[in-house]
Amino acid sequence: MSTKSSWPLRALKGFGMFWWDFLVGDTPELFVAAVVTIVIIDLVSRVGHHNSLAVWLLPILAVVSFSTSVWRAVSKARKK
């Protein structure tokens, strides 16, 4: 049996790998944070109908996620 996979399978794998690298890559915490942010805003806006809270919560969550990721990278780099 040949160990080489067919080209559609390889193309599919390559496509999947591209999106994995594009969205997750070496910062999985940003991916998780974005998903959690979407779930929270969905609950606040669509379920809870608190539009004004969602308006400010969305940028605040983005700022917290991004700042935390930067802070993690900085402390990791300084420990080395």
């Binding site: 594009f22 998903v35 308006v55 996620s65 802070w71 990278a73 900085v74």
Partner: protein, 255 residues
């Protein structure tokens, strides 16, 4: 109505800025690889690789562009918003770390050196150089794919796919022309400042479309994008100041 004109132009302005800078940055990266391949292995196969990559990218746009129009707008905006939010935060994170000196600043020099070393290790150059072709193809296709994603997502969500395409084309032609003229001095491009600006614009658009996809009613509609840009710019600036090492005296070297 002057208010309507202001809201439309602020949204368009952010769209044009984001697409232009993102396309320009990706073009600089692709061009660095192509120039390295051309200088090391010869231009014929390198340019053939560029040509085939451009055809492949055009085929992708032709296949997926019209399909995106049929996706329900709120779902499209949520997906696009999520992708832009993640992508923008990744760019901003890298730009802040570069400003703080925790990540190498001039990527182009490193990319150029790595590509040249890889090509030189591959040995002699035949008339039809497969390695040069593949390297140039990969460089243009992968960087171009990011331009395509930016143009398709931002353009479709804002109902301005034509404008986004034209802006990206202008950026690619402009950077391509300047890049060919300056050849190996692509590291002189202020890439980190451009990446930081793109990161701020992408996170702003990501926030805006994610909210739109989740039925959030933004105060001032499109004008809120400008508020997002201002918020993220201030936060980025504050982070750069906070993470920059204070003990080390900064020495400005005149160019």
């Amino acid at each position: 109505m002057p208010f309507l004109a202001t809201t439309v132009s602020s949204g368009v302005l952010v769209l044009v800025g984001a697409v232009f800078l993102a396309s320009a940055v990706e073009m600089v990266e692709a061009l660095t690889i192509v120039v390295a391949v051309g200088h090391t292995r010869g231009w014929r196969s390198a340019l053939q690789g560029v040509g085939v990559a451009l055809v492949a990218l055009a085929a992708l746009v032709a296949a997926f562009g019209p399909a995106l129009v049929h996706v329900p707008l709120s779902a499209l905006r949520l997906i696009v918003g999520g992708v832009l939010l993640i992508f923008g935060m990744q760019w901003l994170r890298k730009a802040v770390l570069r400003s703080a000196g925790l990540k190498a600043k001039h990527d182009e020099d490193e990319i150029y050196r790595e590509t040249v070393a890889e090509l030189e290790a591959a040995g002699t150059t035949p008339a039809r150089d497969r390695i040069a072709f593949v390297m140039a193809f990969k460089g243009v296709f992968l960087e171009g794919l990011e331009v395509v994603i930016t143009v398709l997502t931002l353009g479709t969500s804002a109902h301005r796919l034509g404008l986004a395409t034209v802006v990206a084309a202008v950026a690619v032609v402009l950077v391509g022309g300047v890049g060919i003229a300056v050849s190996r001095q692509l590291s002189a491009v202020p890439e980190n400042a451009m990446k930081m600006t793109v990161g701020i614009l992408l996170v702003s658009y990501g926030t805006f479309w994610t909210g739109e996809g989740l039925s959030v009613k933004w105060p001032g509609n499109d004008t809120f994008l400008v508020a997002c840009v201002a918020i993220y710019a201030v936060v980025t600036w504050a982070l750069v100041v906070l993470v920059k090492p204070k003990a080390r005296p900064s020495v400005e070297v005149a160019a």
